[in-house]
Amino acid sequence: MTVATPEKRSPKEYASDQEVRWCPGCGDYAILKAVHKTLAELGVRHEQTVFVSGIGCAARFPYYMSTYGFHTIHGRAPAIATGIKLANPDLDVWIISGDGDSLSIGGNHTLHLLRRNIDVNFVLFNNEIYGLTKGQYSPTSRRGTTSPSTPRGSLDNPVSPCAFALGAGARFVARSLDTTLPHLTQVLKRAHAHRGASFVELFQNCVVFNDGVFSDFTERSVAPERQLQVEHGEPLLFGANKDRGLRLDPQTLRLEVVAVGEGGVRPNEVLVHDETNRALASMLVDLDQSEFPVAVGVLYCDPTATYDGSLREQRDGGEVSNDLEALLRRGRTWTVL
């Protein structure tokens, strides 16, 4: 865990001396900026912070940080981060991963990291494509995606990262966007504050192989109408003047969009966001984009015991004995004179 240091830090202090080599216009730049800013505002200690990644464009991230960093192998960052955290629970561990890295080859490790609730921050850059290998479709690509490996359109139903995380037993699930700096830093701070595995999905634009795949809800012009920014304890309202909201039909148990106020329903009929409610969270991550907005923010947060914390307790104090004499003598021995 991080020990915040008194003096003020500047985002630049968290940038490494390495030249950043993403494509011009890649959403990764904005995220990098946001992470630098977040760490500076949190004032985390460089030597206590480790960024771990697999392979992919997103996974280049650690090279651009001035903290400790480990660019590992494809899909295995969660497992390696687990070892790091269990070997030294005082470290502040971040995992940076792409949709292919964490949900295709790495899906199993992501599942088990979340279920074990290892106290790390897992940030998934979802661009719905394999960037580094030049544009094949990914497990989050929509059905029918044409790509070098699916010239006639992909046939798979995509996986929803947040639905997957909830199913895996994640206790913190949030969403944000590459280019909305304030929202992004706020979400990252919440993730960092959460004890346990914090899962954050970021919609990230790959300008080269999947440009604009999220624009229908990220474009400045449509954002207010198409994004539902959730806040714990606040009603689920959206729209430029917050005149629409979500309501649950008690008969069908399904959500519906309702107009609020003037000719619409009474404000108190609108659902209030409860980030500790898994059922609500699973509805919010699943909203059908054809009729609903896209929910962003902290969708679920309900802390429980962490694996690393419990291990610490089990090892109480972690006193380390070197008394091999005693060890080797366990059980029956005899002496030959």
């Binding site: 490790h109 090892r315 060890l327």
Partner: protein, 624 residues
Amino acid sequence: MSVDSRLRPRTTIEPEVRESVVIRFAGDSGDGMQVTGSQFTVETALAGNDLATFPDFPAEIRAPAGTTFGVSAFQIRFGSGEVLTAGDELDMLIALNPAALKVNVDDLRPGGVLLVDTGAFTQRNLNKAGYASSPVDDGSLGDYRVLPLDLTKVTLEAVKEQGLSQKEALRCRNMWALGLTLWMYARSRKATIEWISRRFGQRPELVAANTAALNAGHAFGETAELEGDIQTYSIGEAPTTPGLYRTVTGTESLAWGLVAGRAASGLRQLFFGSYPITPASPVLHVLANLQDYGVVTFQAEDEIAAICAAIGAAYAGALGVTSSSGPGIALKTEALGLAVAVELPLVVINSQRAGPSTGMPTKTEQSDLYQAVYGRNADSPLPVIAAATPADCFDTAIEAVRLATKYMTPVMLLTDGYLANAAEPWRLPDVADIPEFPVQFHDDPEGFHPFLRDPDTLARAWAVPGTPGLEHRVGGLERDYETGHISYDPANHQRMTDARAAKVAQIASDIPIQQVAAGNESGGVAVVGWGSTYGAIHEGVKRLLAAGAAVSHIHLRHLVPFPPNLGDLLRGFDRIVVPEMNTGQLATMLRSTFLLPVETHSKVTGQPFKIAEVADAIRARLEQ
């Protein structure tokens, strides 16, 4: 007299003196053959014999009672001389039911003693074992000296006072058989009686019953007034170095060796990432109980996560260890390449089993040597060592930790299913004698970069997260020799490739020169072995040496790199043969390294070598 009438021992018979004896206790999974064997082992050790044991568990978890695939057995060989294997053929077999007889009788030597519980030879059990008629009556056991006793009956008699349920009473049969066997070989019952009271402490009636059965079996031997005979045997004490002893399995000594290595390195944590697999899982089980010795065991979701977590732990400054068997090691190979690339210390243990693929999980084999040495993409050299005996696993584990931490490299340690389960007496080392090799984490920011190398060892600096001023990035992309940053430079890749190779190659100068385990330093046939074949080869060679043959035993612990003098040593012999439980993997390595006409004596049956098999193989070559 509750004994089959055909049996009429004489009152007194001279004990027959034997140099070594092989006994196997066999029965149903539920008959307690493993504890019976262990107790006989303890009494034998206390009697001062050298010994070796090997259990044979059924392949199935818990097969139906009375079936052949539910038979469990425990074999022990003990003697007045050096005993290094559990023996080729049985001098005595104790079979508590027809299935146990069926499965094991072929291993009994002609003239061997066969103790059967006729009470268990019911038609039902005979059918389950696939016997048309009872072999005890149909004369098919003519080659053996059969002791047909109705153990069921005599046991029930012996324990009747305790008024146990029939089921519980019958569970004492093994103690009756043990009592008689202990008497036949003139062993004490003291340790066993102690064990019984510890084991059944909560239930006095069971303590009494088991003790009664044990004593009854013993008394039967002494007092039996019958025609026919029960031969007794006397085995002299083995000349053993004074000291404190215990019996140990390869699994135990391996686990303890890792802990000893952790202590010798001065590291505070041994992080053991593993995923269960036969026959490797027991190492995880032993270490899981050693939290107080700085051990953190992590049962990962699969073998890949297991090694990756260990790599992560090593990156964070712990001693990273991962363990599996062939199929699981196969899954670790990509991550192993990362450990080679980022040059982190890591111990990878392979308890080999019969393959390919799932193969025969409970059977032993040595066929993962190729995988250990060559089984990675690209040029990814790493040290490979192997343990020779159960006790040797301790020292080999310490050596693995030493090489990994001193040279910042993953090290492959090979054992196998035989070593994992076999046991032998072990003279406890004086802990003070265990060499220390304290690890120094790098902490000086001055001129630091992550691939700064020690000029002597070529090991890179180990700088762990948490150290101020040494923040750095490592990864699997090729790194610049001078800065550690990503580099695609052709000359740098050549330089790094050469450095990785040189680092491992020059370990040869830091390991003991190869000794000859038996026989002359040159001339005649060199029998070269590695791993668990040590016992069979050593005894086989010694037999031939005793017969005056020109033969030597050379046993390798270090397989990559080879000891510096190995080439010269081998060139001194007329002929070189490698007995291996594979199709000739070490032989291939020796041939390519030294261009010598090394021959393979291959056995791939899932069974360890017999002493005689090795001896015959050598003899055949001596005669040519």
